[in-house]
Symmetry: C2
Subunit: 453 residues, 2 copies
């Protein structure tokens, strides 16, 4: 064969393959948009089960639902991995208020932070406000001791990437209790990590340190934080707080998973997933109902279309991302102890919004790979193929499998912090079509990854 | 100066200009996101005024509100252009139902199409279903005469670009009454042009032709269309319909406009706008409250930041886009008769969703221009800079100003046909941050256009 003929042959092959991929991706989107199961499955998870914090009865319901669902789809090797998770409960009392100078009562919309101790009855103390955690750290003991510390750092609405605005405030929630207790505070209340100025408090994880007293920690709605801050400009404010949340002994739980077995390399595994647990407020619709449904639907679609993957594609519903990441950590250890060859992982944990693309956490060589997908995925409005973050659940694979590429599905982030960890994270706030497009995007990416990695 | 020095000088200049533009665009976004007026202005338009169909009292309220608002912002040359518009009213009766084989009553969620005649009392007739307008055109008179034609063509959910799915069904709404009446039908009811399968009917414009009888035309909710179609599989269905909508004599109305006067070329005008009128159901929040607010806010931001445009930037709130486009047509004639030099126009009329980019309807030379903006706008998640559609209101400029570039703002389209022309097109379904990002995108684009055209 002459070299020009050979080049033409190679070119035709690659053109043929491109056309074939293009047709298959179109079939994926047709299945997701015309005959999709994603929306109804998310409805079941949100409405028939609801919120599902680690260790709760609903978390167990969700595990049973997932296991049954994966079996009903006749996936390969449907299984549960037994793990141990923290078990914290909000209890039944969660009340806060203050009186303003004009004698008016202000009830505060507030949620205990996950893991917080209770107040042991009604607690009252003067409030002292700090705009940042650093400002608190620099405070004198006398200014803080026996007071309720109010950390009022707003998320920066000017940040286009809302996750960056969230990251910048994360410390007030994660470390606020420790830093306040170090100075003798009796409790800490933070401004919710949410972008809108509204009445929805946003909960989330926090931590304690040994040898530093455990003080109650809660988040108030941004509208309440604004009002309290204004009131503090007028003078002292006494804050009333009662919460009976508490820790229970660690509980048994499960990651739930299933596979499409690889035809060529069955022992090389691509893990895709999200987390099945959610905070105990709202319905965990965007966080992370949407994510597990994206991945479940991706596997269903690939199977439905008769795709026989080269490598084994495994969907994992991780437990306990929100308050411990035991699911992710114990999964990574387990697959390593099983001597599995994990070759890539993808996570969807940024909500069920309209897709924009995928981020890579891993060696640069994989950047060229995912950028080569853009041509095929651009007609579906996917345009982000760049370095980024994978996900909390798949994160532990990174240390145990050096060089493994982790991929994060990137939906549009603008509405995420309207709902994140708030009572408004419900099924009604997920758009059917946006959810379906997310599932199709994940399925298409996993298809291309499996064929080209 | 040596040529290498000269090149370096030019390079530095262009680098300096790029950095300057980058800083100014960042200031635009800060103003929109941190100190924006967009959301409150849209609230006033939707909640203090509400729906505002041409010729209605609310349309006049909206004109007065706009004129007052533009004066309050101290824009240049705030003015109203007197125009004449159609005046149609829905009336107070709009009821439809049928009985199913099992004797159950089915009330149908339905809206008269804009411009339809009434039924002149209660009308009842057998329903005959067609899946497309072409199928109806091929029907025999005997199959249609004295019946109610039911045009049940669903929008194609597999279309990623939802406006294409809309365009493909447009004919059943625009021409359904004419084609049905040609064959002697007594009325036409169409499946709403909406993507979700729900209980919201979507109205919209239709037309009659002289010498063909005017028959009543209405749109039913997609869920009702599905149910009726299933019922028709079981046998004949008698449909009951009463509507007292009707035409009134043409009414006086206005386009409302204001300017930032150009510093170098005050007689060269860039028109930016959307339409102030809306259908009489819902609140015209996305269609096109968001569009007029985008453009109003863009002008406010440019003025607030002290930008002195090279050319005159004029914001126009067009009247009557929905059922006649008299605003757009009479504006184009008026500016030509005033011997104005219109050099470009931009329209926002695709809702207040998260921005994706801009489309060009005009000579290819302008494509390179807008693609040169991408580098600066990419950090704001804007990625569409391609040939496309401008807008209905600015469309008439094209014939009168040959070669003029028309630009259309392109927000994400996935949720648009959930709300378009439906009772659900209300303020609550516009996200504050998405609206603000739209205003900032329009302001940034107009800034770059003014500097580089």
């Amino acid at each position: 064969m002459k070299s020009t003929h050979f080049l033409l042959f190679i070119f035709s092959l690659s053109f043929f393959s491109l056309a074939q991929d293009s047709i298959f991706i179109r079939r994926i989107y047709d299945e997701a948009l015309l005959r999709g199961h994603a929306y109804e499955n998310l409805r079941q998870l949100c409405k028939d089960i609801g919120p599902r914090l680690s260790g709760s009865a609903q978390a167990q319901m969700a595990i049973d639902w997932s296991y049954t669902k994966m079996n009903a789809y006749h996936f390969d090797r449907v299984q549960k991995q037994a793990i141990t998770v923290p078990h914290w409960e909000r209890g039944t009392t969660e009340t806060a208020w203050y009186m303003s100078k004009d004698g008016q009562l202000h009830k505060v919309h507030l949620l205990a932070l996950g893991g917080s101790v209770g107040t042991n009855g009604l607690m009252t103390a003067e409030v002292v406000e700090f705009k940042t955690l650093d400002a608190l750290k620099k405070a004198k003991i006398a200014a803080v001791e026996n007071k309720i510390v109010f950390l009022n750092q707003p998320m920066d609405a000017a940040q286009i990437q809302t996750f960056k605005a969230y990251g910048a405030c994360y410390a007030i929630r994660g470390n606020g209790a420790v830093e306040a207790a170090r100075l003798g505070a009796s409790a800490v209340v933070i401004r919710s990590l949410g972008l809108p100025q509204d009445e929805h408090p946003h909960t989330g994880s926090m931590h304690y340190e040994t040898e530093i007293p455990k003080i109650p920690a809660a988040a108030m709605a941004t509208a309440d934080a604004n009002a309290l801050s204004l009131e503090l400009e007028k003078g002292k404010v006494h804050f009333y707080l009662e919460m009976d949340c508490r820790d229970f002994p660690d509980a048994p739980s499960y990651n739930v998973m299933a596979e499409l077995k690889g035809s060529k390399f069955p022992n090389e595994i691509i893990t895709i997933g999200g987390h099945l647990d959610s905070w105990d407020t709202g319905e965990g619709a965007h966080d992370d109902g949407a994510g597990v449904i994206h991945c479940l639907e991706a596997l269903r679609i690939l199977k439905e279309l008769g795709y026989q993957p080269t490598h084994t594609i495994r969907v994992v519903f991780f437990m306990n991302e929100e308050n411990g990441n035991q699911g992710g950590q114990q999964y990574a250890k387990w697959v390593l102890s099983n001597q599995e060859k994990q070759i890539a992982a993808l996570e969807s944990d940024r909500g069920g919004f309209v897709p924009r693309g995928f981020g890579l956490d891993g060696p640069d060589t994989y950047l060229a790979l995912i950028q080569s997908f853009e041509q095929l995925l651009r007609p579906y409005d996917l345009h982000i193929f760049e370095k980024g973050y994978g996900g909390v659940d798949i994160g532990p694979l990174k240390n145990l499998y050096p060089g493994i590429p982790l991929f994060g599905f990137v939906p549009d982030s603008q509405r995420y912090f309207d709902y994140h960890h708030a009572p408004s994270d419900v099924f009604e706030n997920v758009n059917k079509r946006e959810l379906e497009l997310g599932a199709a995007a994940v399925a298409s990416f996993v298809y291309l990854l499996d064929k080209n990695i």
